[in-house]
């Protein structure tokens, strides 16, 4: 099977999962007590006003009709209208999604760039001080609440040292006119990075620690393989063994974990965005829940599900680049 066909079949496999996500959120959202119309119009709306709003948003139709019509509109990329913001849900999401993706990509980059060398060094120098330090770092990384790391970073780097801004994120491609204190694009990018550092570490630490652990254990496993022993017997240097023989094979469990960690990172984004007051998807969904903005809750959850599913497909595809033994039809 070719790469294209494999990709298409993986995408098709994802369809039931996405439909499932829509179904779960639709019925959970419907079970939310209270009345969105009341939130919109205040505690005692006139009957006519309420009926008009209900009709406008289709809330007067039976549940199953709404479910299927929602499914149908999602297929047409229409996620409905936010009852609270009074704008299309897709518009609101497109405003917020880039911020969250920027944060997410940055934190995964941070996690991978630190975890891979740390894991490898740890495996190479097993039971030496370096290994112990890296294991302790990883242990604390998986055990620390991410939002607490964020609070501590704010205290240290914003409050005590005054080095970094403690709120908001600036996207690097924002026009200089829209960013206070920046006169050209380069300054915007520098500002953007300053804003990014603390949220990135906050969100990325857990992933970093998880990646370090799996990198270490899979590297240890590969370094114990027969072909590595053979290379060693031939007098190949340790660093060359790691680079040429062990590295690629040791990355497979890591790649799997990168995909699976996406779901916890997306949840972590909610906390990180709250701590740093970043207007991203995470805070959008929290405000949507607080305002009982049905369409917005469903839309944002769907997008979260999509990001996860696409992320897993990308990691699956990247398998083949790392391991030539993996072919797309599953035979070796």
């Amino acid at each position: 099977m070719g790469r294209l066909r494999y990709t298409i079949s993986r995408l098709l496999q994802a369809v039931p999962v996405i439909v499932g996500v829509i179904t779960i959120t639709f019925f959970l959202t419907d079970a939310i007590p209270g009345d969105p119309v009341q939130i919109m119009l205040g505690p005692s709306p006139s009957a006519q006003q309420a009926a008009a709003i209900r009709a406008k948003f289709g809330l007067d139709r039976p549940l199953y009709v709404r479910y299927f019509s929602y499914l149908a509109s999602v297929v047409q990329l229409d996620l409905g209208t936010s009852i609270y913001y009074q704008v299309p849900v897709t518009q609101k999401i497109m405003e917020r999604l880039p911020v969250t993706m920027y944060l997410l990509l940055a934190s995964f980059t941070f996690a991978l760039v630190t975890a891979v060398p740390l894991g490898i060094v740890s495996a190479q120098r097993r039971n030496e001080p370096t290994d112990h330090i890296s294991r302790v770092v990883a242990l604390f990384g998986v055990s620390t609440p991410s939002f607490w790391i964020g609070l501590m970073l704010i205290i240290i780097f914003s409050f005590w040292l005054g080095w970094l801004p403690s709120t908001n994120i600036v996207l690097p491609w924002t026009g200089p006119a829209n960013v206070g204190g920046a006169s050209n694009q380069l300054e915007v990018i520098i500002k953007s990075l300053q804003h990014l550092i603390m949220p990135m570490i906050t969100l990325g630490t857990l992933q970093m620690a998880a990646f370090t652990r799996i990198e270490r254990s899979s590297m240890l496993e590969v370094l114990g393989e027969e072909y590595v022993k053979l290379a060693r017997a031939y007098g190949v240097s340790e660093s060359k063994i790691v680079r040429k023989h062990a590295f690629r094979n040791a990355q497979l469990p890591l790649i799997t974990l990168v995909g699976l960690q996406l779901t916890s990172a997306l949840g972590g984004a909610v906390l990180t965005e709250t701590v740093f007051s970043i207007n991203g998807m995470g805070r959008l969904i929290i405000t949507a829940v607080q305002n009982q903005d049905y369409q917005l809750i469903m839309g944002t959850t769907l997008v979260f599900g999509l990001v996860f599913v696409i992320g897993v497909i990308i990691t699956d595809l990247s398998y083949a680049y790392v391991d030539p033994r993996v072919s797309f039809d599953g035979s070796e």
Binding site: T29, L139, W148, I155, V275, V289, F308
Partner: protein
């Protein structure tokens, strides 16, 4: 997701090539006993559990001894044991105790006076003793960790065992369902769940339990798939044992070891998730103290009262480290490949 399902877990499991003598709880425990880091973890958990038990007993005591009339206007949970034997955790009517810094801070940098031994870790924004609230928050952390993991364990085992044992469309349906559940970030799923059913700690535990079903379902399923082919299952089937009994009596017990490891680690993860929920306001509701909620409260006051935010985080960290150390110790003990 067939290619990714369970493969990260597989890497950690004890493989089927494990020698007979190296399985079983007794062997595992003897291995753990020789592992100093696992013992540290065990020590932490035993200590935390004892603290949690004291908090629990105090809750019961309060039901019998507590005097709601005199404490009615305090707006805080009353702690009988702390009242009697320890420091005074009660609100200070004169507000002199609000945001009093910990005893180790003696400089005048902070708005209030220096700390006193009456409140070793200081007092919070309502004049409540932070150490006392930390102490009683342990009960919530340990309970939510264990209960939510228990829910996930039972339901996940059921789903995974049924899916793996029957295979076919049942397997497909259950695994697609569990993938779907996994595709929604835990935190968001639980928040939606709690908004729908109620913002109580009980629902947080149930929600987190349901959200983490896939972790156990996958693990059990992959174990069942390998156990299913064993001769003794074939024999049981030939002898006419019912499917339900085969699953419960043979398949599940044989998958016990990796599940034990995962469950221990999951308790830590769930404590973190529920701390995050409490931080967002979706956990234990005030006045019941929980660590996540204390951090959430501290956010408004942490500049310049940095000390306010430090200790609840450290409490969470230590507890989760404890569960992770035990989990890792168990894993090492159960996985002969890691032992030299």
């Amino acid at each position: 997701m067939a290619t990714t399902t369970g493969s990260s877990l597989d890497a950690d499991e004890s493989g089927p090539e494990q020698p007979e003598a190296r399985v079983g709880l007794r062997y595992t425990l003897s291995q753990v006993k020789r592992d100093p880091t696992a013992l540290v973890g065990l020590g932490i958990i035993v200590f935390m559990t004892l603290v949690a038990l004291v908090g629990f007993v105090d809750g019961v005591l309060f039901d019998f001894l507590g005097d709601f009339d005199t404490f009615a206007n305090m707006g805080v949970h009353q702690y009988v044991l702390a009242e009697t034997f320890w420091v005074n955790p009660v609100n200070d009517p004169g507000n002199a105790q609000i945001l009093r810094p910990p005893v180790y801070l003696t400089n005048q940098l902070y708005p209030n006076e220096a700390g006193t031994w009456a409140h070793p870790l200081g007092t919070d924004h309502r004049g409540r003793d932070i150490l006392v609230r930390l102490f009683y928050g342990t009960r919530i952390a340990i309970t939510v960790g264990i209960v939510s993991t228990g829910i996930a364990l039972i339901l996940g085992t059921l789903v995974g065992a049924v899916a793996g044992y029957y295979g076919g469309w049942i397997d497909d349906a259950l695994m697609r369902g569990s993938e779907t559940l996994y595709a929604i970030p835990f935190l968001i799923l639980v928040i939606a769940f709690m908004t729908a059913f109620g913002q109580k700690l009980t629902y947080a535990m149930i929600g987190v339990g349901i959200a983490t079903i896939p972790t156990f379902a996958r693990l059990i399923r992959s174990r069942v798939l390998s156990v299913r082919e064993e001769d003794f299952i074939e024999a049981a089937r030939a002898a006419g044992v019912r499917d339900r009994d085969i699953i419960l009596r043979h398949v599940v017990p044989n998958s016990f070891a990796p599940v034990l490891v995962q469950a221990t680690l999951q308790i830590g993860v769930n404590i973190l998730i529920i701390a995050g929920l409490s931080f967002l306001g979706y956990g234990a509701q005030p006045p019941t103290p929980s660590w996540g909620q204390m951090l959430s409260n501290s956010r408004q006051y942490m500049l310049p009262n940095a000390w306010f935010s430090i200790w609840p985080g450290i409490a969470i960290l230590i507890t989760v480290v404890g569960f992770n150390l035990i989990g890792d110790g168990l894993r090492d003990a159960l996985d002969p490949r890691i032992n030299n």
